[in-house]
Each structure stands twice: as structure tokens, then as C-alpha cells.
Symmetry: C2
Subunit: 472 residues, 2 copies
Amino acid sequence: MLTAPSNVYLPRPAASSETRLVSDKFEKYVAENVDEFAKEIIRLASQRSVSARREGIEECAALVEKMLKEIGAQTRILRIEGAPPLVFGEMKSKKSGKTIMFYNHYDVQPEEPLELWKSPPFKPEIRDGAIYGRGVSDDKGELVARLKVVQSYVETQGEPPCNVKFFFEGEEETGSVHLAEYIEKYGDLFKADGVIWEYGTVDTSGTPKVTLGVKGMIYVEFVIRSLSQDAHSSLAAALPSAPWRMVRLLNMLKDANERIMVPGWYDNVSTLSEDELQVLQEMPFDGDGLKKSYGAAGFVGGMTEEQAKKALVQRPTGNIAGIWSGYTGPGSKTVLPKEIHVKMDFRLVPEQDPEDLFKKLRKHLDDNGFADVEIQLESMEPAARTPHSHPFAQAAIAAAAEVYGKKPIVQLGSPGTGPLYLFTRKYGMPSVDIGVSAEDGGIHAPNENLKLENLVKGMLWIAETMEKFSAA
Amino acid sequence: MLTAPSNVYLPRPAASSETRLVSDKFEKYVAENVDEFAKEIIRLASQRSVSARREGIEECAALVEKMLKEIGAQTRILRIEGAPPLVFGEMKSKKSGKTIMFYNHYDVQPEEPLELWKSPPFKPEIRDGAIYGRGVSDDKGELVARLKVVQSYVETQGEPPCNVKFFFEGEEETGSVHLAEYIEKYGDLFKADGVIWEYGTVDTSGTPKVTLGVKGMIYVEFVIRSLSQDAHSSLAAALPSAPWRMVRLLNMLKDANERIMVPGWYDNVSTLSEDELQVLQEMPFDGDGLKKSYGAAGFVGGMTEEQAKKALVQRPTGNIAGIWSGYTGPGSKTVLPKEIHVKMDFRLVPEQDPEDLFKKLRKHLDDNGFADVEIQLESMEPAARTPHSHPFAQAAIAAAAEVYGKKPIVQLGSPGTGPLYLFTRKYGMPSVDIGVSAEDGGIHAPNENLKLENLVKGMLWIAETMEKFSAA
């Protein structure tokens, strides 16, 4: 799951309902078989698959393929040397020419700290209407829910409402490092008309949230080396200082109004449309709660709550994530440090091209006397965002309103970053985050859980979205 | 010994000699008894006294007092709770109303790494005309040499040429933390007309160096806390950044020309006199060697070699000794750090008052929107410098020229800092660094040594200085 911040959005009041496309028969089948679905989640979550420790990865991939075959899908195990296998599945439908792809991952976070679990993490059990175990929500519960949506269609109507593809990777929790290579190698196999991304959530009041994208990012490390060895600080009267040079560099990167001073940085950045501004305005935002959570006296640059909410969606950032030089222990040591390191992440909005911006950053340094400064590029990802007006986004939003009986929270873009662009940029595919999880599901933590009520509703949400988009 | 940089000064050609005041009898006595003096150094250096480990401190203080008594001095052991004892000695003379104080310390650096010593560090031995052992130079060799100068006067002339005081502390190598308290408590006991400081050196060509003072220092740590906990860096679009705030603060502290921007920082700083400029010009300075040693492309701010030499003596500095915030490990972590720390040392010239400057620094921050920024004061020491024209300085310089047969290197002020001011400020006492050590004597390192030739010459240098100053 993307490590984006949560708990800053408040629930919305219920909205008016519309006409459902999902049949009564389908809905009844899902409701009656929830215990069977839960057993299947427990079956998959009983198989350890901690990617950080390469634990049970092959066994889990084999089990996922088996489960895909059991619902009648065609399967392939795709491989790249040194990477966990990618499990691919496919099922055709004569009902619509459209294709929807499900992206999920079968690896999980490590289970530590063990002593805080009330039941064994890899022997999931049901208590008080919820399944408890590592991965039952992130992302094995979501994965199985999607298999079971398709299976329910096969059982009740012979086939799903559109063609479906399943893309299940095994290293999401360690950064999806081979994802680009898989997409490069297997190309059009993954092409679809829309992607239902990893997960979808309801907040603590039961309001669903539709997220339409993520920011991009350039992550760099600046290194200035002024001396071959640390010097006694009395020599600072004569010898150059790496830390002071870095202060000059940073001061030239961002002005006092938080604006990045690299020429051309904002060239293609558009303002939000009337439609998007409306969505933004409707999005609840607990600014005071956010400030309180982090003990902040105010928003950066004295922004208002409305400005801060907008900035999280649409403002490019230039953040100092780490800085170090010289003596960092207790007390005093008189040293002129030989070097300084600064790590920075620049978040990008959809209109910004990271490769182009990285070149502009380099040129900005070169043009201002910092040609010798090393810039280590750690990672580069463009933003990805599905327009709010896109039929796929509209289908997911309308489906949420019907299934949950209330207007969903629509987030134009998460302030976080993820590899979504690998699908959306290459094939121009829209993407939505919808699913069966809850914000208080304890993902990445002990006692991770999935409520059976959310499982049923989330499956209906996915089904209704598939039908509406297929019919659009 | 002060941890000031060495090896940046080149030897000078010999100068013309002047008339000596030290008698032939005295000189003969010293030359004939050098082996006895060496045995006394070995005797004291055989007693462990590692202040960092509180090892043998009491025993060593007792031995030093015994050795003082053996030359006929009156002694006192001064005590402050929790501090190593201070051994004080005194001997009156009817020959002059003047009093000279010898400052030394009887504690030593730890002996590690043991495996690099060619003979046991605390069983000193003589090889090839030099004594090898921990402390034989820094500072037990210097201490004993001064006792033996006084003893030689007693033996040859009945008494020294002036009153003498001995001030021997036991925690110099751990920062002289109780020195100010001792001076505060025992006040006028230490008053004299001049101080012969800890040590004096000849360089590798045998040229003596007279150092007339040290810079002062304010050492502070700035702390900015913007959040109560680290945040995911996606929130940098809305929440304030401690590192960026520190960049603004630092940028306001020093301008691009290396000038400290705190109003009044340079108020009392005088330019060097004609006399001092002449001394500075005569001081050899290996600028290329210094740059090469540290792999520096040039001097800070593009200074010339002459400017750099002058800056080391007379330029106040503002050095970033340490800076840290956020993630400092390998790879990337997307964090908005909750806080940042910066350690800075500001070196001061004699005209600057650290207490006044610290208040001005605080006000500068307050006046520019940084009133909430914490400034932790680590230490504060004024500079100390004996004017080149002072009779005590002139006596030491003339004595060096006579004893070594060449003009000494005169350093108006070391770029480093030390507690010298505790004596010089309170009593207006002049101070000079003269003694028996050599730049290549391996102080603080394995195989520390003292050449017997330097022992003899250094003792004559001290004696000649005492006589010239007494007669002045």
C-alpha cells in the first residue's frame, strides 16, 4: 500500500442514490458466500510471503496461480531474473469490448513485532466479524476479493461484464523495483481500458474514498566536497567550507515564498479546472487536526486551510528529507567538515516531466557556479492522475454512492507517490483506487484486519464500477 | 597542548645575535646535567596520569609536589570538589621585583594505540639522543624543564633572577573544565608579571616559534523544531519544514563575502598596527602546502595567500562544525524532518567580547523572526594576545634569536583557542609560549619524544627570557 498520509479527510453526508446495474442475483450470491470468500482469504494469507526476507514468494505465486485457475482464468507466470515472479491472469467476456485490469500484490510486510499480535499473523482467524492476519487487507484480501467478484459473475451470469486481466506482483512492499522492467519486457500484455489499483478504503465512518492519482517525484542527493579531510575549525579562516557552500546552493533553490527557483520548473503546471475546484472544495479536510497531529504552529508560508488542502493536491514541493555534515554528537567539537550531503524529494504534479526537470535542475546549478556539485539521482517517477470527468472515474464515484448510500470522498490526487504511472502513462489508461479495505484496518501493523461487511460492500463496489464502465 | 594546526609555517633564515644575560656558569651547569634532567623527566613520566580515565592523578600530583619541594619551592595542593588537584609552587628572589608564572599540566593523553609504541609508554627510555614515552614532551618534559631551570639558578647563583610561581593543573587534556573555578577561588595567588605558557616548540629545521596568543570562541548549537514528529514528506506541501527554516537563518548569519551579518559583530575589531603587519609579513606561511594538505582548490572567498595568512590571525570566523536533520542513511526515505540541529563555532579576535556578541547574536535572531529558535551555548572564551611590542614578548623573541642563532618565527596569534585568557584578562598578564618541545615530537601520538638537544636549548631559552624580562 502506498505510504500516503491518512486521517486528514473527514466523512461526507450521504448523497442521493441512482440506478444500480448489478443484478439482485449477483448481490445475493455475494452476500450468501461471504464465509467461503473469507476462507479463501485465510487460505492465501496462511501462505507466508514476506518479500523483504524473500520468504515463501515462489510458493505464494504458485498458490495465486492455482486460485486464478480455479475461477477459470487463463494464467501465465512471468519471470525476470532476480525478481519475484509476476502472476498474470486473463478472462475474456463476450458482453463488452472493454477490458479492466486488476493490479494487486501477493507479498506482505514483515509480521514483527510478534508480541503485539492477538492471534498468529500467518494463521488468520475470524473474530467479531473480521479476519485477522498479516496481509488479510494489504493486499491478499483485496486480491482474493477481485478473484471472487469475477467468480461470482461466472457463477451467476456465465461471464464477467467485460474482459478482465489480473496483474499480481510479488515485491510491492520492497518498492516494486522490477515493475518497469516487467512492463518493458511484456509490453502490450497489460494493456486495458482501465486499471483498478491495489486497494480502496472506507474511512472510520464508513464513507468510501475514491483516489484518482498520485504526485510524481524526483529524489536526489546533493554532495559538496570542499576538502580531502576534515580540518581543525581554526582553519575556517582560510579554507573553504562545504556546509556554507550548501547553504548558498539551497538558498538558490527555493525562495522565501516556497517557490522553486529553477527556471522552467512551473512551465507546464496548469491550474485546476472549474470541475476539479468543485471536487476539491467538496473534499473534507481537517486542517486543524493535521496541524495538531504534527504539533505545527501553522501551515507552511502562512497558508490558509483551503490553500493547504489545494497544495497537497496540486503544489510541487522541494523538501529537504535529510542533511548531514561534520560533528553530530553531544557537546562541542571544533571541525571544519570536508563535505556535506543533502537529500531532497521534489514532488511533481501531472504536467511536470521529471526527466526534463532533472536536466533543468542540473543546468540551474551549472549556471550559478555550482557545476562541481554532485547530484546523485535516487529515483524519478512522473505523477499519474485520472481526470475527474473520465467515464471510469465517474463510474467508480457513482458506484460508491449507490453501494454505500452516501457520496464518496473524491481525492483528485494523493500527496504521495507510487508506480501507477508505469501503466497510466504508457497506455493512457485511467485508474481508480477502489476495494474492500478500511482506514483502521491496521495495515503494516500488528492485528491487521478486514471486516466481512467491508468485504461484501467492496466487492459490490468493484462489480458496479465494472458494469457502469462497461456500459458507458 | 592546544589542538591548533601545525606544519603551515616555514622556517626562517638565521638572524644576528645579541648580548646574552645568562651566565657561562649557568649554561655549563645545564649542559653538564642534562642526563640528570632527563632522569627526572623519566621519573615523572613513569607515573601514569591519564585524566580521561582518572588514572594515577592523585599519585602524580603528589610526585609533582615532591619534585617542587626538592628544588626548594614552597608548595600548596589546591582542591575543588570533583576536580583533579592543582599543584601550586612558589620561590622568592631578591634579585628582581618581577614575578614569572609557569603554567603546565601533569596529566597526559591516553597511550592507545599500544601496538604502535616501540617501547612501553609509561616506562620511558632514551634512544638516539631522545626520551621516548607518554608525556615526555606534552607536558611533563616541559614541566620538569622549568623546575630544572629554577634549580640550576639555585645551584649556580643561589636564587632565580626573579620571583617564580608554578601552576600545574591535572585536567588539561580533558578541557581544563575547572580552571576558571580554581582561578575564581584562589584569586590573587596566581598573579604575576608574565606567564610562560604550557609549551614552546622548534620546527623541523630547528627554528624556534614564539606564539603571542590565541583566538577566542563562542560555540553554540542552534535547534529548530517545527513539528512534534517526523511526517511523510508528501505533507511538505502543507506543513512547515525545520531544515528550510534553518537555511533561512544561516543565510542571514553570514553574507557571500564571509562577513558575519550580526549588527555590531565587528564594532571593536581593530586593524593590525604597522609593527604587527611587519611581523605578519615576516611570518613564513606555506599556503600551497596548506591547500594541498586539505585538497582545497583555493582559499575561502578567493583570498590570496597573504590574505589567508592574515585571516588566520585576525579574521573572526563563523564556522558550521556540524549539521544534521532527517534521514541520513543510504538510498532514499521520504520524510519531512521534525527538527534540525546546527553546531557553530565563532572564532573571535582580542577586541571582541564573547558575552556581548552572544547577546547580539540572540537579538539578531529575535529581530529577524527567529525568536523561537533555541541557541544552546556550549562554551565561550575570549581571545588572548600579548602585544608584540610588550617587553615580555620582546624578551622571548630576543632570547630565542640568541640561543638558536636565528630569528624566531613570531606568530601574533594562533588561529586556535585556549583558556589563556583566564590568566591574561583577569590580571592583564602578558603570556608567551616558549619551551623544549618540537613540532615532530609526536604529542598525543605513539612514540612521543623529547630530544635532549632541544631540552638544553629550551631551558636556556626560558632562562634568557626570564633574565631579559627581569632586567627590562
